[in-house]
């Protein structure tokens, strides 16, 4: 029955899937821009307190989604500093929460990938007098296939989390209901067919994206670009 629901292209189902992808991919895009910049900057620079910054960044990878949801809620609620923007219980609030959640993951993992590559390139870059901004760009470009896996980890965390989006989104039908919040709701209501259908879609998305990334990486590896 769950499979029938998926194959039938049920309107409500498609709407939930579409919103889930929109929110998580938007968060991934913003978090990637921020996280890659932070990761690359930490990889090529040395400054007092860098070790402590890395410890904090690594610790932030384990941020509990409900805590992120609560913090974003406090900022966006009417009495909060950003309350005037009226973003609470909108997809934008969900994007913000997921961005906060996955930026440390992308920054910390990309820092590790880029720093390993920088160890290899450092002396050559220094010999060629490469400016640090160009170093950062070159590292990100040359590590792009490894960074796809980092982005994948971020997307996986974003699309699968429920705690943050339910707090700041509210799980409002036709407005902020995404796959994870819908699964939680439908399960509690006893509508297991819809919950299972959404679960199947979620797993299919995860498998498809992982398959694509692996194919790209294998192709790159064969060509010695990875």
């Amino acid at each position: 029955m769950a499979l029938q629901l998926v194959l039938s292209g049920n309107g409500d189902l498609m709407e939930i899937i579409g919103l889930s992808l929109y929110v998580s991919l938007s968060a991934l895009l913003i978090a990637s821009a921020l996280g890659l910049f932070i990761g690359a900057a930490l990889a090529v620079t040395r400054f007092p307190g860098r070790g402590a910054a890395l410890v904090v960044l690594n610790a932030l990878m384990g941020l509990p989604p409900v805590v992120v949801g609560l913090l974003v809620y406090l900022y966006l609620s009417r009495s909060g500093p950003l309350g005037f923007m009226g973003l609470l219980y909108t997809p934008t609030a969900m994007i913000i929460a997921q961005t906060v959640l996955i930026t440390p993951i992308i920054a910390a993992l990309s820092r590790q990938v880029l720093e390993d590559l920088y160890e290899e390139y450092r002396e050559q870059f220094r010999s060629l007098s490469v400016p640090w901004r160009i170093e950062m760009g070159a590292l990100v470009w040359d590590a792009r296939y490894s960074l796809l896996t980092v982005a994948l980890a971020g997307f996986g965390r974003a699309v699968a989390e429920v705690g943050a989006v339910i707090i700041v989104g509210g799980n409002i039908d036709h407005l902020t209901r995404v796959m994870t919040t819908a699964i939680a709701l439908e399960t509690s209501k006893g509508d297991l067919a819809l919950a299972l259908a959404l679960g199947i879609v979620l797993l299919t998305i995860a498998l498809t994206i992982n398959g694509l990334v692996m194919t790209v990486r294998m192709t790159a590896s064969r060509n010695a670009y990875a």
Partner: protein
């Protein structure tokens, strides 16, 4: 017993015209570099004049690669100083120099893009420029190949082309032909000699006595982190004046 006392002559400059450069001559005074309790560079005084093709020789662990890194401004001495054209500015000196490392570090890109990366830094990346640089080392046919799929000799030639693309006043080469086949060695030597003829100062490390005889105008011989001899190439091979250089050359002949 090897004589480590320095015996330094001023080398004669080759027929190649010495070109005026902001980073030449390179003058080292009392250079000391110590790591892990070991004195790796031991109070080196050295004048490197423009124009000549200088070969650096010496046994393993004598400090050749370290000296090149110091001369290129990649590392700083613990004590002593280096003047590049009467200035102590290592960063400014590096911009006018290039170095080819013993193990080439290539970007994870195509052959052409490895050259393009350097040309872009100079704001002159064009397809014709890329091809011209690769033609100098015989790699023009491989322009679209992934750089890391090249053979060891081809990778080193690409590293040389990339270094030459910076149009350096001084080019340092750290055993660029070590364990390469004769054809690859010949191509690298040709490109180095061509660069030298066009006015680039060359400082070249090698263990290959035949190669040193072919290329060098003057030889710096190191042993135990000290300069044992710095002399004109003919004199170095026919009449080495220190026991350490004689011992090195005798060892080569015998074994």
């Amino acid at each position: 017993m090897l004589d480590r006392a320095p015996c330094v002559d001023t080398p004669s400059i080759s027929a190649v015209a010495a070109q005026a450069s902001a980073v030449m001559p390179i003058i080292c005074r009392r250079l000391v570099y110590e790591r892990g309790g070991r004195l790796l560079i031991n109070a080196i005084d050295l004048d490197i004049a423009p124009g000549s093709l200088t070969v650096v020789m010496g046994p393993n662990g004598s400090g050749k690669s370290l000296l090149l890194r110091l001369l290129h401004g990649l590392i700083e001495p613990d004590t002593g100083h280096i003047l590049w054209g009467n200035r102590r500015d290592a960063a400014a000196a590096r911009e006018r120099q290039a170095m080819v490392f013993q193990r080439p570090v290539l970007l994870r890109r195509s052959v052409g893009d490895n050259i393009g990366f350097v040309l872009k830094l100079r704001g002159e990346d064009t397809r014709s420029q890329r091809e011209a640089m690769l033609t100098r080392v015989g790699l023009q046919e491989l322009i679209k190949q992934p750089a890391r799929r090249l053979s060891g000799g081809e990778q080193q030639r690409l590293a040389l082309a990339r270094a030459l693309a910076t149009r350096p006043d001084v080019l340092f080469l750290d055993e660029p032909t070590a364990s390469h086949d004769p054809a690859s060695t010949h191509m690298i030597e040709e490109a180095v000699v061509a660069a030298h003829r066009s006015g680039t100062k060359i400082v070249f490390i090698t263990h290959d006595i035949g190669q040193a005889r072919r290329l060098a105008d003057d030889v710096i011989f190191l042993n135990g982190g000290r300069v044992c001899e710095h002399t004109e190439v003919g004199r170095f091979f026919s009449d080495p004046r220190t026991n350490c250089a004689r011992g090195f050359l005798d060892g080569r002949i015998l074994f």
